[in-house]
């Protein structure tokens, strides 16, 4: 069984905004929503609800703050349903614009209803390509014009799509007949016309790094996606050539080198796998508009690097920002410190990568504007450090950043330290430091200790600590000798022990760097194969643009 029974969409306040039943008699959204919300957050993507009759499997995704739910009364492949929900979100975004807003859905139910109905026929998923839906979904005159900024859509907007040379009266039926045949390419809508032809390649890498307390990287991956935007008339046939930027040299031909960097590649169905396998070129006929061409993964430590604990042989990791963390500082051991450094070496590399250019462009200036950065090199932006704080922390007596601002958020139980972009440049080679002093929960021992800043106390939350019997055991074991000498030392050490419970165990770094890729990949060329392409005049030279972006969203984690 692989049927989608229904699709329910809720907005951020959990109000129902779309209820589309495909087949059968699924439980209504009003029943399912409270049962879903009962689950503790973060809620799993698949839950089994036994209180309905028959018991229901409930699939859920959250996209752009909208909650997509789909119930199923029998065993259905979970990934099939989840992928379908993602595709629905993609398709709605294609038609309604990004980001997907609840108000946009409620304002154009006619389009939404068609999109949703076309994607699954009586529950059987039959169309996942948002672009092809353009052939089928009637948006009526004038709906998409304002959203798409008059890109030149055929079909619904007469006059824009048809060639001006054809006889004016017959435009409409002829156009219909063309599109009605269905596109020869299952992912591209038929009869694409654009007044300005443009091609954009955006490569986004999302870093995921784990650093051991010693600073040695345990794992470092860059999860890359190549997003392609094609606004070209006819049926273009494109060749995208990437280069490794010098990495993996001496490893056979270019395809091998590329494959050693881009591991575990997945492609949009339009990509010809044979070409990738033979010479590492990505050859494809793109869908119209923006789509994800390819996803890959680059191991920044190099494949098969040793996992030894020996620090000297630790692989060098080339990141635009580094953090180190030390805890248990100060007299009472209740302080911790995060040091953020920006190694300068990456900047030069980044400049080099920015200067990559694409051949065959009629207007080289087009890159500059799309890449969005000046020649001075890419800067680290949106620098944020988040430090999750143990829940039994009572307060912070001190939060001192040398740059930027830091505050403690009780709701997320973390300290967030933000450095605005303009202050990033002023960070010296020694780096910026955040120092915090923690206060633990109130306990009786605070009074005994008579210590002003230092926090103290066996955590009353952890276990019953009513008698002094266990503490006498502890005192015996930890410092039997010092008992006679001075109680101060004992309590001091005990306090350090206790404060260890309040110390965070990790810090997470977020940033984004434009114009630089962690894997070192570069777009070497993007060529339109004029022989294989159709409907694109030989004299037409599309604009080409390339954009690199490396981001880390709490994904660089330093432990301590």
């Amino acid at each position: 069984m692989a049927t989608i029974e229904a699709l329910y969409i809720f907005d951020e306040h959990n109000n129902l905004i779309l209820n589309n039943v495909y087949t059968g008699r699924p439980p209504p959204p009003s029943t399912l929503l409270p049962l879903y919300l009962q689950q503790p957050s973060p809620r799993p993507s698949l839950t089994y609800i036994t209180s309905t009759s028959p018991p229901t499997l409930l699939f859920s995704i959250i996209q752009d703050n909208l909650l997509f739910l789909s119930p199923s009364s029998s065993d259905t492949e979970p990934l099939l349903v989840l992928e379908f929900l993602h595709r629905v979100a993609d398709a709605l975004e294609e038609f309604l614009g990004s980001p997907l807003l609840a108000s946009r859905i409620t304002a154009s139910y006619d389009v939404v209803a068609q999109v949703v109905a076309e994607m699954a026929d009586a529950g059987i998923v039959c169309q996942g390509e948002a672009n092809v839906l353009r052939d089928v979904v009637e948006t009526g005159p004038g709906v998409l014009d304002n959203i798409l900024g008059k890109v030149g859509l055929p079909g619904s907007s007469p006059g824009l799509g048809a060639t001006p040379s054809s006889a004016g009266i017959l435009q409409r039926p002829q156009q219909q007949a063309l599109s009605s045949q269905g596109s020869a390419i299952p992912w591209r809508r038929s009869n694409v016309r654009h007044t300005s032809n443009e091609l954009y390649v955006d490569i986004v890498e999302s870093l995921s790094v784990t650093l051991a307390p010693s600073g040695r990287p345990l794992a470092a991956f860059a999860n890359g996606s190549i997003v392609f935007t094609s606004k070209v008339s006819g049926i273009p046939d494109l060749n995208l050539n990437l280069s490794t930027g010098g990495k993996g040299a001496g490893m056979g031909n270019r395809g091998d080198q590329l494959r050693s960097i881009m591991e575990r590649v997945v492609f949009h169905p339009c990509v010809r796998l044979n070409r990738w396998k033979s010479d590492g070129a990505i050859s494809f006929v793109p869908p119209d508009g923006r789509f994800a061409l390819c996803g890959y993964e680059a191991d920044l430590l190099g494949p098969g690097s040793p996992l030894t604990t020996d620090q000297r042989s630790a692989p060098k990791l080339d990141l635009p920002a580094h953090i180190e963390m030390s805890t248990g500082l100060g007299a009472a051991g209740n302080e911790f410190e995060v040091r953020l450094t920006l190694p300068s070496s990456t900047r030069s590399a980044a400049v080099a990568s920015l200067q990559s250019s694409l051949g065959n462009s009629s207007r080289p200036g087009a890159f500059r504007s799309t890449s969005g950065t000046e020649n001075k090199g890419p800067a680290v932006e949106e620098l944020t450090v988040r430090i999750p704080i143990p829940p039994n922390t009572r307060n912070f007596s001190d939060i001192r950043p040398t740059k930027g601002e830091a505050h403690w958020s009780l709701v997320d139980s973390c300290v967030e330290w933000k450095i605005p972009s303009k202050e990033v440049a002023t960070i010296s080679s020694a780096g910026a430091v955040l120092r915090c002093a923690v206060q633990g929960p109130v306990s009786d021992e605070d009074d005994e200790a008579q210590d002003d800043t230092a926090t103290n106390g066996m955590t009353a939350t952890t276990y019953d600590y009513d008698d002094d019997a266990p503490s006498s055991y502890q005192a015996q074991s930890s410092a039997p000798a010092s008992r006679s000498n001075g109680a101060g030392e004992t309590t001091g050490r005990a306090r350090v022990d206790k404060n260890r419970d309040l110390m965070p165990t990790a810090a997470m770094l977020s940033f984004s760097v434009k114009g630089w890729l962690a894997s070192g990949l570069k777009v070497e060329s993007l060529l339109v194969d004029t022989k294989k392409s159709k409907g694109l005049g030989a004299e037409v030279k599309p604009y080409k643009g390339v954009k690199y972006l490396t981001v880390s969203k709490d994904r660089i984690e330093a432990r301590c």
Binding site: N15, D135, L170, S179, S206, S477
Partner: protein, 810 residues
């Protein structure tokens, strides 16, 4: 692969306000609700824009929350169906499908017009009409739907054929009696040369009649070759259907391979060893031999591992795992691991599947171990599964990797999330369970370090795991118990203290000369008043055990003395006294080797016991007092300790901590039952079907079915294409008994519809020819479409001719 909307979220961090602004500036769509009368007026208008506006309002009302009643518009909406505007049609159809059940009579009025559209010149219109007609939930029209599908099956346009394939499912749901006809249509659609038609046909087949594998035989090889080009959903249907087909049609053959003592062979043995089921029973010399047809299937799905769709990748992995675990499965491991970079929801489900593969073939995942390191920000579902993968991989790693895993687990056992702490400590326990003695010791020392932590959750859990480890191999761990007993001085956690005292009690019979049990008891009794009840209960139990061992020892001595005095006497009573069963771990033997102890000490133990009992007697907990009373009664007579030995010194079952997912091991990869686990019940969720066993050799369908059918039928398919729809309709009328028997009603309705249909068709024919000519002029640019369209127009003509003939005949 990340969905495009997620990546665009990254790319457009400062989200375009310009777009929003543009939307506000642009022509705003009226959102103000209009009164019913006014909407009706709009619908009745002759102006396309107004009609469209009216329909949009109706649809918006229908989808609004709470939904507003829109049934009153039914007649008005149906009327608009006669308008020639293409823009309104989808909306009307949508409305129709929504309300068909509520008002079947009015719905029937529209059937006529929809049927006309079935012969429209535009294939999209035909497909949409077919789709809508099949979707109307009025059982009365099932025969009409069946006929419409029949017509659609032989349509020239693949779009219509695809719609026909999907309509098959709806037709069967509408009326189960149509199943035999529908299966015929499906057989034909499965042979379709157009891959997306075949894909849809497989999807429908999987829904309607997945057991009729006889329909698959002739197209098996063709589908294998086409699977790469199908859309993802067709691929999924094939990947779901074909493992079952393969299990039913290809018996598992084994070939004897002479044993080679190469390293490779050894490695294979190593892997095979871990495999739970079938492989294990087989001799290692045997290697699975793949049927060429099965190999074709397995090879042809391999490119799908580059798919962006996670469901496809898991399905391929499922096929490899269950059909060819040794040869093909390694290809699927990398792509499976790559699913970890997908969005959270998919990642979570993918991890369940990874764990499942990992249970069967852990060694394949070794190169990817770094992907399973846990991140602090992860959701509990994710880290739980990652921990499980790490522990499953642990026994197969080399030392440096094991260090890494242990360091990882240690780090998280010191965290602040108590669930994570508990799970990491348990994971350390599982690691030690699965590995050799040396590593096990390392795990143990790691856990012993944790005991001093001030985090009671951690200490309690660590103690629990340590106890399990000691119980599993008691002989090796005598020293460990002594070490643990030392910790009693400093330990605070009552749970951990109780655990240690219990362990000391368990070992109180071993090695009597150096036994610490009595000493531990002596120290503990001193602080009895300050302990919690949990610990006190264990102290009392310890006292009882120590005393019992002491009594046993004395009895042995006594009987030994008696035996010495009268050697003729049999040793009967002795063996009864020393009743502890042999599994107890050698307690009995040691008792016999015991040497006489100093009398003062014996007295001390008795005194100590009496003292403890006295303490227990005045404890406030009545449970404890009751226990003490039981022990006292049991040990009242120093000469008869049999019952007490049975009760107190009974061998304890060895605790096992299997990997948490071990319990869902039976569920097939990729199923929802696998994710839900034990809540799904013994046989999985409703609709869950396990893979069948391999068919026995000799019982499989003849392989010739696949070649004969494959080539023969595709040839005969071509001429069939030229048969016009009208002729087929006639043939169906004569041949199909189901149709005639279905009674008057359907027939009369059909007749009535046929008349109008013919009129319509002659009209459209003349119109078609004009447009066709125009198209041919225009076709110079778009050479791609040329051939199709010419065929199309020819077909159109022959079809209408056919219809005219049909009319004449009638």
């Amino acid at each position: 692969m990340e969905s495009i909307s997620r990546i665009s979220g990254l790319l457009e961090t400062a989200r375009d306000l310009t777009l929003e602004a543009a939307k506000d500036v642009g022509p705003r769509r009226p959102t103000r609700p209009l009164p019913t009368q006014q909407i009706k007026k709009l619908l009745d208008s002759r102006n396309e824009r107004e009609v469209l506006d009216g329909l949009r309002r109706v649809i918006a009302m229908q989808y609004a929350n709470p939904p507003q009643p829109t049934l009153t518009f039914f007649p008005a909406v149906l009327k608009t169906l006669s308008n020639p505007y293409p823009s309104t049609r989808p909306l009307v159809y949508n409305y129709l499908l929504h309300h068909a059940e509520a008002d079947p009579d009015t719905t029937l009025l529209s059937i006529n017009t929809i049927q006309k559209s079935l012969s429209d010149s535009n294939p999209r219109v035909r497909a949409m009409a077919l789709k809508t007609m099949a979707g109307i939930r009025v059982p009365m029209i099932s025969q009409l739907v069946s006929l419409a599908i029949k017509k659609g099956v032989s349509d020239l346009s693949p779009i219509v054929r695809k719609a026909a394939a999907l309509a098959c499912v709806k037709c069967v749901t509408l009326d189960a009696n149509t199943r035999p006809q529908v299966e015929e249509y499906l057989a034909k659609l499965l042979e379709d040369q157009q891959y997306y038609v075949a894909g849809a046909a497989v999807q429908a087949f999987a829904e309607i009649c997945p057991d009729r594998i006889d329909l698959i035989h002739p197209v098996y090889r063709k589908l294998c070759k086409m699977v790469v080009d199908m859309d993802e959903w067709g691929q999924l249907a094939i990947l779901r259907l074909f493992p079952t087909y393969a299990r039913k049609c290809f018996p598992m053959r084994k070939k004897r391979v002479k044993k080679a003592a190469t390293r490779e062979q050894k490695a294979q043995d190593f892997y095979e060893d871990l495999e739970p089921k079938e492989e294990r029973e087989e001799d290692f010399d045997e290697v699975e031999v793949l049927d060429p047809d099965l190999e074709l299937l397995l090879d042809s799905v391999q490119p799908l591992l580059h798919s962006r769709n996670s469901a496809v990748i898991v399905s391929v992995a499922r096929m490899y795992l269950y059909l060819s675990p040794s040869e093909h499965l390694p290809h699927a491991i990398g792509p499976l691991v790559a699913l970890l970079r997908s969005p959270k929801d998919i990642q979570e489900v993918a991890l369940y599947n990874i764990v499942q593969v990992c249970l069967a073939k852990p060694a394949h995942f070794l190169p990817y171990i770094r992907h399973f390191l846990i991140r602090t920000s992860e959701a509990p579902q994710t880290w739980r599964l990652k921990l499980e993968v790490l522990t499953l991989l642990f026994p197969h790693c080399d030392k440096s990797m094991q260090d890494l895993i242990l360091a990882e687990l240690e780090h998280f056992s010191r965290g602040h999330n108590s669930d994570l702490v508990r799970e990491s400590v348990r994971a350390i326990g599982r690691c030690s369970q699965a590995s050799d003695a040396k590593t096990s010791r390392r795990c143990l020392s790691l856990l012993l370090k944790q005991i001093h932590s001030s985090d009671s959750v951690l200490v309690g859990e660590a103690m629990e795991v340590v106890r399990h480890m000691i119980q599993r191999s008691p002989d090796e761990h005598r020293k460990t118990v002594v070490r643990l007993a030392k910790n009693l001085d400093s330990l605070n956690s009552p749970m951990a203290r109780a655990s240690i005292i219990w362990l000391v009690g368990e070992f109180s019979g071993a090695d009597p000369q150096n036994n610490i049990a009595a000493d531990v008891l002596r120290i503990l009794v001193r602080g009895y008043a300050d302990e919690t009840d949990e610990v006190r209960a264990q102290i009392v139990l310890l006292a009882a055990k120590v005393y019992l061992h002491d009594l046993n020892a004395k009895n042995v001595k006594k009987t030994a003395l008696e035996a010495l005095n009268s050697p003729s006497q049999e040793k009967q009573p002795e063996s009864q006294v020393l009743s502890p069963p042999p599994e107890e771990g050698g307690f009995g033997e040691e008792h016999q080797q015991e040497t006489p102890e100093a009398p003062e000490e014996e007295d001390t133990i008795a005194l100590l016991y009496q003292h403890t009992m006295l303490l227990a007697r005045y404890t406030s907990s009545y449970d404890l007092r009751d226990r003490a009373r039981v022990y006292r009664a049991l040990l009242a007579l120093p000469s008869s300790t049999e019952l007490a030995s049975l009760l107190l010194l009974a061998p304890k079952p060895v605790p096992q901590a299997p990997s948490p997912s071990e319990s869902h091991k039976g569920y097939a990869l990729g199923s929802a039952s696998l994710v839900i686990g034990s809540a799904a019940g013994v046989n999985g969720l409703r609709g869950y079907e396990p893979l069948p066993d391999w068919v026995a050799t000799g019982e499989e369908p003849n392989a010739a079915l696949r070649d004969a059918g494959g080539s023969g039928k595709t040839e005969s398919y071509e001429p069939q294409k030229a048969v016009s729809a009208g002729q087929m309709l006639d043939a169906a009328l004569e041949a199909d008994p189901g149709y005639k028997s279905n009674g008057r009603k359907a027939k009369t309705l059909d007749d009535w519809l046929d008349d109008e249909e013919e009129e319509e068709e002659t009209e459209s024919e003349s119109g078609d020819e004009e447009t066709d000519e125009e198209e041919e002029e225009e076709d110079e640019e778009e050479s791609e479409y040329e051939t199709d369209e010419e065929e199309e127009s020819e077909e159109q003509e022959s079809e209408s001719e056919g219809d005219e003939e049909a009319g004449l005949v009638r």
